[in-house]
């Protein structure tokens, strides 16, 4: 392989790693950033999105519509979880963590009972691109584009809607926001719904690139988790920067040492970054 070919290969791979990390982290980042709680069932929201998308696709829906339905399904699931559990645990990070872990156990087991060990997946669309000896799936690159679109839309929602303003105010000073007539509980409910929809859409988008199993959520949870933490408090800027830097690290490592090596590089980078930048990449930007 020539230098240019490997460089090209590296870029494509970094892009696709960025896309995946950014997609799976966004929903978690929104919920963590605004509400300050960690949703340990985050992976299962992605699972709900992915499974629903696959069902819709097999039922004959066009892929994009199926993904939309997947996002909606995860959103409804999120609303149920929020009303039943999360709303009683606001501001209690550890309790939320254990309770959502419980949700995760339940969903994984229900999915296993209902659908068994694997679920019929979706063929990766859009074929592949070739450059010399290197070829890559076009869809995986398209995912990076989808991630950018989702981040931009989320940014617009936070900056230009009343809900966005209220959620940013509640994030900075919840009591004061409430004293100004902002219904913070409703804001939190909407935030959890919004984060769930984003996770569901991410699940639908990555569904054609992964195998659909009951523990697919657990598999992506850690990657999503470290991306959010490395990003820091700023949902949009922090998380996208984190996905980009971790993707750039993960790509060559997985080229050289395989998937597990890439994953290990991701974990090591996370540990070092947290030590060097306790506030995450957000701290560097602001």
């Amino acid at each position: 392989m020539s230098l240019i070919e490997s460089l090209f290969g590296f870029l494509i791979l970094a892009l696709s790693h960025f896309g995946k990390l950014a997609l799976i982290a966004l929903g978690l980042a929104v919920i963590f950033g605004i509400m300050g709680i960690i949703n340990f069932a985050h992976g299962e929201f992605i699972l709900v999105g992915a499974y629903t998308t696959a069902m819709g696709y097999h039922a004959g829906f066009p892929l994009l519509l199926a993904i939309f339905v997947g996002g909606l399904a995860a959103g409804i699931f999120g609303l149920i979880v929020e009303r039943l559990i999360i709303q009683h645990l606001y501001d209690r990070l550890i309790e939320t963590l254990v309770a959502t872990w419980g949700v995760s156990l339940i969903v994984i087991q229900l999915v296993r009972i209902q659908f068994g060990g694997t679920f019929a997946g979706i063929h990766t669309p859009l074929g592949s691109i070739q450059y010399g000896a290197f070829s890559a799936s076009t869809y995986r690159i398209a995912l990076a584009g989808a991630a950018i679109v989702l981040f931009a839309s989320t940014y617009a929602i936070f900056m230009y809607t009343r809900y966005g303003l209220h959620s940013r105010a509640a994030m900075q000073n919840k009591e004061m926001a409430q004293c100004l007539g902002i219904p913070t509980k409703r804001v939190y409910m909407k935030t959890f719904f919004f984060g769930s929809v984003l996770s569901g859409i991410a699940g639908g988008l990555i569904a054609p690139t992964v195998s659909l199993t009951p523990d697919m959520g657990t598999n992506v949870l850690v990657e999503a988790f470290v991306t959010v933490i490395v990003g820091g408090a700023n949902v949009i800027v922090g998380t996208s920067l984190a996905a980009l830097s971790l993707g750039i690290i993960q790509a060559p490592a997985s080229m050289l040492f395989g998937t597990l090596g890439g994953y290990l590089a991701l974990l090591i980078t996370t540990v070092l970054l947290i030590r060097v930048l306790p506030e995450g990449l957000t701290g560097v930007v602001e």
């Binding site: 940013r168 900075q172 004061m176 926001a177 409430q178 004293c179 100004l180 007539g181 902002i182």
Partner: protein
């Protein structure tokens, strides 16, 4: 009557702070509450907006009992709150901070941006600046502006002059009187600054150890010795 409390007891957890507080604030009045540090002035304001839950007694706003309502419902009913330490949203711009106040007084549709910028022209110069980067006095103006935008029927202000330059304090006092005159807004504030209190209010409650011990009318307020007596040990 805009606001009244009847035999209010309040405090934090097991620690009682306020005891048997009954006050009345009439329509379009400017009333103040003075007392030394730590007598419970801020606790009363926080109980009025709903951040502290009273253990007994009642709060009435515009003839409705609001004792059980959470802060956001009280704000929507028409109470504007300017807390001690200002508590502006530091990472929002000045303009965004003002927009967070529009939920106050749900019966009033149009936000008073023009009026706020008229009273505080400095804010208009800095609409896109992050609020956290402004000086203490400017933040105080922003905190007042933020509560004012929703056109509340009652404006509550807690320890206005704290951490603000004296000349700006004076300026803010004048503006409060203008707001009261122009908009007919009722104002209730706590203060330790004697001159500010004398110049700004018509009537004044005195608090000691969590209870109201005296009420000063315009005549007594002219005599700064009386107030001095209440504020010093």
């Amino acid at each position: 009557m805009v606001l009244s409390t009847m035999n209010l007891d309040s405090g934090y957890g097991q620690t009682p702070v306020l005891h048997d507080v009954s006050i009345e604030i009439g329509d379009q009045e400017i009333v103040s509450l003075i007392g030394r540090n730590g007598v419970g002035k801020s606790t009363l304001i926080k109980t009025l907006i709903g951040l502290v839950e009273p253990s007994s007694g009642e709060i009435e706003f515009e003839g409705e009992c609001i004792t059980e309502l959470p802060p956001d419902r009280r704000a929507k009913a028409g109470i504007g709150y300017v807390p001690q330490g200002r508590e502006i949203f530091p990472r929002l711009t000045v303009e965004e901070n003002l927009r967070t106040g529009t939920m106050i007084n749900e019966n009033h549709a149009d936000p008073l941006y023009d009026e706020v910028y008229e009273y505080f022209p400095r804010l208009k110069e800095r609409t896109t600046q992050k609020a956290g980067t402004m000086s203490g006095g400017e933040q105080q103006m922003l905190a007042i502006g933020r509560a004012l935008v929703g056109n509340p029927k009652l404006l509550l202000l807690d320890e206005l002059s704290e951490g603000v330059q004296p000349n700006i304090v004076e300026q803010i006092g004048t503006i409060l009187k203008e707001i009261n005159d122009d908009l007919g807004m009722t104002i209730f504030f706590t203060e330790q600054n004697i001159d500010f209190t004398i110049n700004t209010t018509e009537r004044c409650y005195v608090m000691e150890k969590g209870s109201i011990v005296d009420e000063l009318g315009p005549d007594e307020l002219d005599d700064s010795d009386v107030i001095q007596q209440h504020l010093t040990i």
